[in-house]
Symmetry: C2
Subunit: 252 residues, 2 copies
Amino acid sequence: MKIVFIGSGNLATNLGKALYRAGHEILQVYSRTAENADDFAELFECSATTDIYNIRCDADIYIFSVKDSVLERLANCVADSITDKLFVHTAGSMPMDVLPVKRRGVLYPMQTFSKRREVDFSVIPTFVEAENEDDLQLLKTLAESITESVYVLDSEKRKNLHLSAVFCCNFVNHCYRLGEKVLDGIPFSVMLPLIDETARKVHEMTPSDAQTGPAIRWDENVIENQMMMLDNKPEMKTIYEQLSKSIHNDKL
Amino acid sequence: MKIVFIGSGNLATNLGKALYRAGHEILQVYSRTAENADDFAELFECSATTDIYNIRCDADIYIFSVKDSVLERLANCVADSITDKLFVHTAGSMPMDVLPVKRRGVLYPMQTFSKRREVDFSVIPTFVEAENEDDLQLLKTLAESITESVYVLDSEKRKNLHLSAVFCCNFVNHCYRLGEKVLDGIPFSVMLPLIDETARKVHEMTPSDAQTGPAIRWDENVIENQMMMLDNKPEMKTIYEQLSKSIHNDKL
């Protein structure tokens, strides 16, 4: 398929790579900054623009992969001149109907993307939705050309998925960060086998069954001592208390 | 070495397996409940007792792997009759000096153990400490017979390590649990590729560099909408708010 990308961030770059490798043709990329647009264009041998009113009209599909806050505005700009093509966004928490065209859809690859790190797109669960049945089939085919896990999911359910992703990824990663902060000189790398096993365990058992540690045993002695260690870090102390109570309450 | 185990829980069972396979001789196990003691004894072809005053005196090392709250009491019971042997405990957050004998030490394998799940002990970072130099060498040798990662760490530093483990494992696992709760019928298995990538990422970059999502971008629109979705789950809503603020503050 012939594709135009609006946006050149982490998700756009990783998705672009996967589509390019699968043999799709990327015609053009729009980015607010010339440098990002040029980097992206070089990667995919396509043209670049920083003018949202200068989007080519000969693509099959327009993929909007931009910040949620500018998505609607940029889609409206493009829809000024292009009205009969399929518009798709990649945002977990935005409904499909922010796109102001009849042929619209969503392609949400649920993963944490960083530009520096290459990911294996073929195992990324990707959730698609479209306004009409033909476009849904088209989006499924497109998604299946880059990943083995394609699901049809509506905007309402996708909100649940995105909230879950915030807990399972962003909050998890922040717990790693907080764990790193208390190590006091011990290198963070010693935590990696524990981090890996914690992730592996929930492949085999539910998170509830996998839980261990002072909070699930409600070992008040350890909990009190550890909270005392956080006396000079009030924000972390609150988080420690909240999460410990939540672990304990979940068992009841 | 000839070993007596006091305790037959998750950690004792996994440590016992590793030591047994490495060719050490487990002479006896004590457990409060006959069933647990017998299960352990069968696994390691050793004798079992439920009487803490009936511990054999011919072992080289006595490994206490019991709940923190009963550790000191049980060690005192054994020390009534055995005074010249090496006592070791396996607890992350207990100081070495709760053991009431001259020859004492700690062997803390930092991992999350569940009886149902076999772990590869050879990659588990294990932290040792001993009152005297000879016993420290002995513990290092013992630990090196079952794992490639052996570190000498004193009781004070081990407290930091254990607190970090609570964040990197127990709290992380609870975030998985909370993520599962909001999925509303979508199977938890769709989250596993994201969970795995989140863990893999911090092998290559710091948790701060790895962070993504609405909180680090401080996307107020998404944050507000997601908090509204948790209106009927006040405990989760508080956790969502606390962790989002903490992610945001960490960047400043």
